[in-house]
């Protein structure tokens, strides 16, 4: 048994984790608006975060 038999599946599992993360982010709506956040980050004090979050 070569180490390849362990490393290749591990590599794929790591890739799968990244994919799962992306899918979560997309379903969470983080890619719905890709225009505004890039401007928002430049404002010195961010708008006060409300205690309610909107889950859709």
């Amino acid at each position: 048994m070569s180490v390849v038999f362990i490393m290749a599946p591990i590599a794929l599992v790591l890739a799968a984790v990244a994919v799962v993360g992306f899918v979560w982010a997309a379903r969470d709506g983080q890619f719905d608006d890709v225009e505004t956040p890039k401007h928002r980050i430049l404002f010195d004090d961010p708008p006060p975060k409300a205690d309610v979050t909107d889950k859709r």
């Binding site: 992306f22 890619f31 719905d32």
Partner: protein
């Protein structure tokens, strides 16, 4: 007004003091508003209010932020409404919802959002309005989500503050639709991402296998990598790739060829052959190529979908420009309510300049109304007590009280909207360019595969024959073609929107490009708003010249289009003249009377003159009849009960109309006018722009327009040209929906924007020429890409037949073909830009 978008450009800034600019918006300050001792200068009241709000909340930093993000400040102005209707329970139920902690949330589309500083300011709303908890603005779609505490602040107060800042809020009407879009978009993005990850990993595995081909590889590793590749490949086909199979099957069931069929076919053959080879531990596996293919195709489609969605959004911004509240008489007082709360027999009030919210009967007041958006009639209608008015018409002259007779879907506009839906549902299915090619593609590839199988089968035996046929089927996959068309379309839609043409469906471009002198198409044009500006112009004056300045003086206070036309032509009016007028009375929609130093003067319609007991001499009667016969609108000027002058007026044509029509005719279009206006003005316009008089139809109802379009469309495909309809009014909407390509022009009604495939942000047909050019350019590039990808397929198929296709050759050919097509689509964007700059120069 429907087109309140550019309210701030205007005239009032024209004569500013050169060196003093407004502290809020940076435009020159008009002399009249300049205050020498004030600390701040403003160009108008709106800017002063906005500055006060911003300064009062301690947010002066806004100006610094703005300076940082934009070079030229251009704040917009609110519409100054009270937004009281936003507090009614009907409105709150419909457009807002409760969130955790007893707070309420609503989404608005804000007018006038244009840069990052707007985001900064709108998101500072909690500092400006106590009680607002959160405010988030999405810059691309100008949608703001506001969360507020209903105990501490009312929605109308929030809306008023937004308005004072210069962002007029509109509730979002299509939120359900929008959520579907969002969900679709997320699914599409997930598919692209998953396909990308699988393709990338599969390529890494393939790299190991290719290396093994040259340097040797132990069997155990080869087997491992082949199985891993098989696993990733199947996931790619079954999850993101399933969309091709679904579409192919739908096409098969409907008996329509589409491009997904050869793609799905190649994917299926490749997967089966690859699986067999992995199981038998021999030959080539194709999974690396297959998963890359799925990824690239999905990327192309994703880009096209994004561009179309963007165009939809931009059109959606126009949609919410119509008011959705009205003033209803409840008991003794006037209450502002949302339109949904209005019921039959309610009495509502409409002020000059406003739109009627529902159909009804006038119970008090006398005014002129503009129904052109509904009927296409260019001249205003006089309404009096007992007359009926229609929703969406505009009140021009005086405040009216109207008793509601129909609301919502029951109104004339509502019924027309229903017609639009009918028109959309009966729209003929368009065979898309790529799909038409796909039909031939399937036939040719199948024939070649059969030939290949028999040839090699008879010469070298069945096993080899199957191998080479499978290779042929896979390399013949029209991957580059499947990638090329969506990419080209995405670039074209993007180019279009930069130049003010919002293209909601890419097929519109394909359709428009099919027109050539050899293959003529029907161009159906609305008159009012499309060819003409619905603004009158004085054409001829028959009478003594010295009366002219007095006519202008008398008419200078009137809002009527005829009065405006006369003042524009006969003015400017001196103050002495207006001061020497006495007893000025205006009968709305009919005319004006006043006592002048010359005598009692009357300006108005001939009927009004007759009713007022004015004598019209025979020669003047002839002039009146002549003018009318030629399609002019006629007004008379009387002095002391005798008509002294006759004025002919006509609708003004859009700039360059004649030239543009000539170019379109040259390009193979057969223009026809379909108008709701009277026949004579229609004939006159036809003559003026160079359209055959027999091709100009007036007095058409919306239903007749629709019928006309249906007649043109009902001829079977192949025997007729493409039918394009251009219009702006509600009365055009059904026809726009039914035509092959519906094009709405600026100033259009909501429903016609929704029905059209393309929206041009300029009134008139100048942009239409540009649109047709863009369509032709697009299809030229699409055809070039088609040639490239078919050329690739030809080479690959030849190699496959010769038995020379190894996985390595396939792996090299495929990216090359895709890269060529990508490069080709990219050059499109640059050539287009230079072409457009050349083209725009004259204007």
């Amino acid at each position: 007004m429907t087109s309140a978008t550019s309210a701030q450009e205007p005239v009032e800034h024209a004569q500013g003091i050169p060196n003093v600019s407004c502290d809020h918006c940076g435009l020159p300050v008009p002399i009249a508003l300049f205050e020498a001792d004030a600390a701040h200068q403003f160009c108008c009241g709106g800017c002063a209010v906005a500055y006060e709000v911003i300064h009062g909340a301690g947010l002066d930093e806004y100006y610094a932020v703005r300076q940082r993000v934009v070079s030229s400040a251009q704040p917009s102005q609110g519409i100054g409404s009270t937004y009281l209707a936003y507090d009614s329970s009907v409105f709150l139920d419909r457009h807002t919802h409760t969130t955790e902690g007893g707070l309420r949330a609503a989404e608005f589309r804000l007018g006038g959002v244009h840069c990052a500083a707007c985001v900064w300011l709108v998101e500072k709303l909690p500092k400006i309005v106590p009680g607002v908890v959160e405010s988030r603005l999405s810059l691309g779609s100008a949608r703001a989500r506001v969360v507020w505490d209903p105990e501490r602040v009312s929605l109308s107060c929030v809306a008023r503050q937004l308005d004072r800042l210069g962002y007029s809020p509109q509730p979002i009407r299509d939120s359900a639709n929008r959520q579907v879009h969002d969900a679709d978009n997320r699914r599409r993005l997930v598919r692209v991402a998953v396909a990308g990850a699988l393709a990338g990993n599969n390529m890494l595995i393939a790299l190991a296998l290719y290396a093994g081909v040259f340097d040797g590889i132990e069997t155990q590793f080869a087997t491992l990598f082949r199985w891993l590749s098989l696993g990733l490949g199947w996931i790619s086909l079954l999850w993101p790739g399933a969309t091709f199979f679904r579409s192919a099957i739908t096409g098969l069931r409907a008996g329509v060829p589409n491009l997904d069929q050869p793609i799905a076919g190649a994917l299926a053959v490749g997967a089966v052959a690859g699986t067999a080879n992995v199981l038998l531990a021999r030959g080539d596996i194709y999974f690396d190529s297959l998963s890359v293919l799925v990824f690239l195709l999905l990327v192309g489609r994703y880009l096209q979908a994004m561009q179309q969605r963007w165009a939809h959004e931009a059109v959606g911004l126009m949609l919410s420009m119509t008011p959705d509240t009205c003033r209803v008489v409840r008991g003794a007082e006037l209450v502002e309510e949302p339109i949904e709360a209005l019921a039959c027999d309610d009495v509502f009030e409409v002020r000059p300049g406003e739109l009627f919210p529902a159909d009804g009967v006038v119970i008090s007041g006398r005014s002129a109304i503009d129904q052109s958006i509904l009927t296409g009639e260019s001249t205003p209608h006089t309404v009096d007590r007992g007359d009926t008015v229609c929703a969406a018409a505009q009140n021009l002259a005086a405040t009216l009280r109207v008793k509601t007779s129909a609301v919502g879907a029951e109104t004339r506009v509502g019924k027309l909207t229903q017609l639009v839906e009918d028109g959309l549902s009966t729209k003929p299915a368009i065979v898309r360019f790529a799909d038409r090619v796909a039909g031939w593609f399937i036939v040719i590839v199948s024939a070649l595969a059969a030939l290949n199988l028999t040839w090699w089968g008879t010469t070298t035996g069945l096993a080899g024959a199957v191998d080479s046929t499978v290779a042929l089927l896979i390399v013949a996959c029209p991957c580059a073609l499947g990638l090329a068309t969506p990419l080209t379309m995405a670039v074209a839609i993007g180019k279009g929107s930069q130049r003010g043409m919002l293209i909601k469906s890419a097929t519109a471009l394909e359709q428009l490009a099919r027109i050539s002198p050899k293959n003529p198409g029907h161009l159906l044009l609305d008159k009012t708003g499309t060819l003409t500006r619905a603004v009158l112009r004085m054409e001829q004056w028959h009478g003594p010249i010295e009366l002219q300045s007095w006519v202008a003086a008398i008419e200078s206070e009137s809002n009527h289009p005829v009065a405006k036309a006369l003042v524009a032509r006969l003015g400017p009016v001196s103050a002495e003249q207006t001061d020497s007028l006495f007893d000025r009375t205006e009968v709305h929609g009919s005319g004006v009377r006043a006592r002048t130093p010359l005598g009692l003067m009357l300006v108005g319609s001939p009927r009004f003159a007759r009713e007022s007991g004015v004598f019209i001499a025979a020669d003047k009667v002839t002039l009146i009849d002549h003018g009318r016969a030629q399609g002019y609108l006629v007004a008379v000027v009387a002095l002391d009960n005798h008509v002294h002058a006759v004025i002919w007026l006509s609708d003004t044509l859009q700039a360059n109309c004649r030239r543009d029509i000539a170019r379109l005719i040259e390009g193979g279009w057969c223009p026809t006018i379909l108008s709701g206006d009277a026949s004579q003005p229609v004939q006159m316009v036809a003559q003026a722009v160079g359209i055959e008089p027999t091709q100009a139809h007036g007095e058409l109802s919306p239903e007749e327009k629709l019928a006309h379009v249906r007649r043109c469309v009902s001829v079977p495909e192949g025997e007729r040209g493409v039918v394009a309809m251009v219009g702006d009014g509600v009365n055009d909407a059904a026809a726009l929906a039914a035509a092959d390509v519906g094009i709405a022009v600026q100033g259009g009604a909501e429903v016609s924007l929704a029905a059209a495939d393309v929206y041009l942000n300029e009134p008139g047909i100048g942009k239409l020429v540009e649109l047709v050019e863009l369509a032709e350019e697009t299809m030229r590039v699409a055809r070039r890409n088609l040639g490239l990808s078919l050329g690739y397929n030809l080479v690959a198929v030849t190699l496959a037949i010769a038995g020379l296709i190894t996985p390595l050759v396939a792996a090299i050919l495929m990216p090359i073909s895709s890269a060529t097509v990508l490069a080709s689509a990219a050059t499109f964007s640059t050539t287009k830009r230079s072409a457009s700059s050349l083209q725009r120069e004259p204007s």
